[in-house]
Structure formats: C-alpha cells, structure tokens
Amino acid sequence: MSAHGRDTRTAYLFLLPALLPLAVFVLYPVVNLLWTSLHRSDILRNELTFLGLANYRALFAGEDFGRAAWNTLYYVAATVPLGMAVSLGLALLLNTEIRGLGLLRTMVFTPVVTSAVAAGIVFVWLLDERGPASALLALFGVKAQRWLQSEVWAMPAVVLMSVWKQAGYNMVLFLAGLQAIPETYYEAAALDGAGSPWRAFRHVTWPLLWPTTFFVLVMSVIQAFRAFEPMYVMTRGGPVGSTTTLVYFIFDRAFKYGDMGQAAAASVLLAVVVLGITWVQFRVRRDA
C-alpha cells in the first residue's frame, strides 16, 4: 500500500469531525434559510405558517429595507475605494528603504488585531462633542457637534473607523504583491524612459499589481457587505436608522422584533448579492 492508498473508511473517519459541523451549521442553514424566508416563523412555539413570497413583498413594500439597502451601498461605496487607496498608499510608502520600517508597519497594522468593539468605543470618544476631533476642528472654525448623533455625519464616522481598522490588513496584501514584482522590470522601464516614479507606477507597478488589487477589491467588497460591529458599537444603527445596513437590519428584525421570516428573506437577498460577486470574481479570474 502506498502513502496515497485507497482507504475510504479511514478517510471518512478523518473527515467526520469537520464535515459534521459544516453540514449542520452551514449547509443545512442554507436550505433552512430559504425555507424560513417563505414562512411566518415563531421561534418560541416552533411554529411555521406558509406565506409564499409575502415576506419578500413586505420588504419591498416597507421603507426600512430600502433604506438599509441604500445605507449598505453607501457604506460599501465609501469604505472600499477609500480603504483600497489608503492601503495601497501605505504599501507604496512602506515598501521603500526608510528607517524603522518594521516598527512603522506594526503601528499601521495594530488596529487590525484590536476588536471592532474596542476600536468603536475609542472612536465614540474621539468623536464626542467635547472630544479631540471636535476640538481639533474648532481650530479651523468648524463648530463642535455630536457627530455620531447626526444623520449626516454618523455614516462617514463609521466609514472612517472601518477604513482605519482595516487598512493595515490590506496593506500587507499589497506589500506582498509589490514585493513579487521583479526589480528588473523597473530597471528595464528606466532604460525605456519610464524612470519617473509616476510613470514607473503607471506602466510597471499598476498592471503587475492588478491580480492583488483585484483580490483586495473582492475581499473588501464582501467584508463591507457583512459589516455589523462598527455600526452596532458606534451608533446602534442610528440616528433614525441612518447607519442601519442590511446585516444590522437582519439582526434587528430577527432578534429584536422576532420577525425571523422577514429577516430570513432579507438574508436571502443579501446572499444573492454575495453569490453574484463571487461568481463575477470566478469569471474574471478564469478569463484572465
């Protein structure tokens, strides 16, 4: 028998401890989610009443779901490009020969390993009406205000915190991508007259970095769609629902109002979006 022998029974025994939890807590839930979304669900009495597509119709008839979808798009459209630009900038800056490189990278990365709850509470303090951000802005003549209680400023504040917390992670991915570009390409480009930093970036770095950039883009988009903790800690979805994104909406409906059916319907719609993004990613990677 070779090390690559045929031993189905042993293999299944080795797989069971992993497959069992995955089956019960991932695969079955996918089916159950679809099923629940078609019912009025009373979790306490374990009762299901078939409703057909009524939960979905109710989502589109009400204002809250549309508002949450809009807030989600706002959050994604703000955090993803901003976060990518910041992390790419950091990677370019911290990929050069300067002193204390390791320490500087660590300083940028540390927010990644702090919890969203801790980071969120720190930002609540920073953005307090009497806190440092307001005091700093007052120097420029901006009137202090309760940023997180403002329908206009609450979401930008949540975006700011998310970008700050996530940038170090994406920076590491970009650094790995940058370091995979052979130095000879830059030397060749310099000989061809593309020696200025900007031209080297445009003609060498950007095209060769594209696989990394695309990977970071997809990861960031999905990460942004699933974000929950920044909103929960900084604003509890408020004020007046202005930071209630889809995951927050699902959480609220299901676990605050006990409307499992409608929350499940919203989850299904969000799942369709995530599956769509994943599908596009596969297509692009296959064609590349």
Partner: protein, 272 residues
Amino acid sequence: MVHSQGGRLFRQVLAVSVAVVFILPLLLMIATSLRDPRDAAAGLQLLPARVHVGNYAEAWRATNFGRQFVNSLLVALLVTFGQILTSLLAGYAFARMEFFGRKTLFTIVLATMILPFQILVIPVFVVLARLGWVNSYAALVVPSLANAFGIFLFAQFFKTIPYELEEAAMLDGASRWTLLWKILVPLARPAVATLFMFTFIAEWNDLFKPLVFTSTKNMRTVQLGLTVFQEQFKVEYALLMAAVVFVTVPSVLLFFLGQKQFVKGIATTGLK
C-alpha cells in the same frame, strides 16, 4: 528605482507621520484610561494632568469582567483547538487519501466559505434553539468547530511534503493516525501556529455570536460585556477606556508575540 536624497527624507517624514496617525487612537485610548474620570472627554488636552491608575480597578469591579474573561478564554481556546484538530484530520484525508467522492466533498467544503456567517445567523440560531443550546458554551463553540479555511490550509500544506517519509513509516506498519501525528504535524508547526493566532484573535474579538446566541449575564464574553459596559457608563470615558484596554491586551499581545508568522500568513493566504 533611483531616489534623490531629498525625496528619501520626505518619504521618511511622511511614513513616520502616517504611522503615528494610525497608532494615535490606541495611544490616546491608554492615555484616557489614566485620566481623572471627571474630565476624560479631553478636548485637545490629550495627556492626563495626573495619572489615575484607579480607573482600572474600578472598571474591573463595576461589571463581572473576571467571569467574562474566563468565558472568552474558554470559548476562544476550545474553538481554536477544535478547528486545528478538525482541519488537520480533514486536510490530511484530502491531501493523502483516495476515497469515493473526494473531489466533490472538497468542492463542497470550499463552497462553505462563500456565504458570510452573518447571512446564515438566523437558521444557525434556529438549530441552536432546537438543540436547547442557546445561552450555553456549546452555542458559542460547536458551530465554529470546523472551518473550510483551515482544512484548505492544511490540505495544501501537506501536498507540499514528499511522500517518502510516510512510505518508510508505512512499511514499518504505522497507521494513518500515527503518520499524521508523528510525521506530518511536526512539519506543519508553522501552519498550526498561524491558524492558532488567526482563530484565537478572531474568536476573542468576536461580538456577533455572543450577542445573538447568549442573553444571560453569566454567558457574556468580554466583547459583549464591553458593549453592555458602554451602555451603562456612556460618557465616563476614563472607565470605559480602562475596560477597553484590558480587553484589548490579550489579542494585541498574541499578535506582538507571533507577528512575523501572522503577517506572513496573511501575505501568503489572504486569510481573515
């Protein structure tokens, strides 16, 4: 690339300033945790006039943080060791054994990574409720005992190891179980360490699961406890920050200890 001397100085200054901006909120968090509780909002006077270490003791006493630490530690360690164990076993089976349905099962395992947990939280809650596990350690541990990423990580890693070592041991009559633990796992130590750090930090920092699956005081983890503490103490920032500091220390400490491995893990796998 050729850079001028002036350009280098400019980059040095810029890099230091940017890094300081990134770490500043965390430094201010520590500074505020040492302030006089009465004027912790601070404005632009960022450093405490007099150091108040007492905030830490008061924050610790104000809620049941001791119990919460035990809960978080227990859950994070059980999930982490559980995931490493199930991933090693399944990764080994996928990498080294021939069996019916291997390709299909591997695809299914990978597919479980697509949908984020937040989307499946309702049916997972339904399952936990039926099992009678809501408000128990089981609710926080069992759903996370297996993770496609870990399985994938070890399967890929084992494939890079040549067969010869195992074949020699097999001729001596070693079982699959022995091969895995005596030959492959010792070689996989760096991968195990990486998975340990990622999983432990993710679990320690998690709010979503404890928020949804538990509601009793006794089951609170540190992150959930922090949000409750925040609701109670609202703008008493000195106490809040003291609590935030001691909840943050374990994960940041673990990161500092294994930083190289941790960063390499992200760079090679894009894991999160």
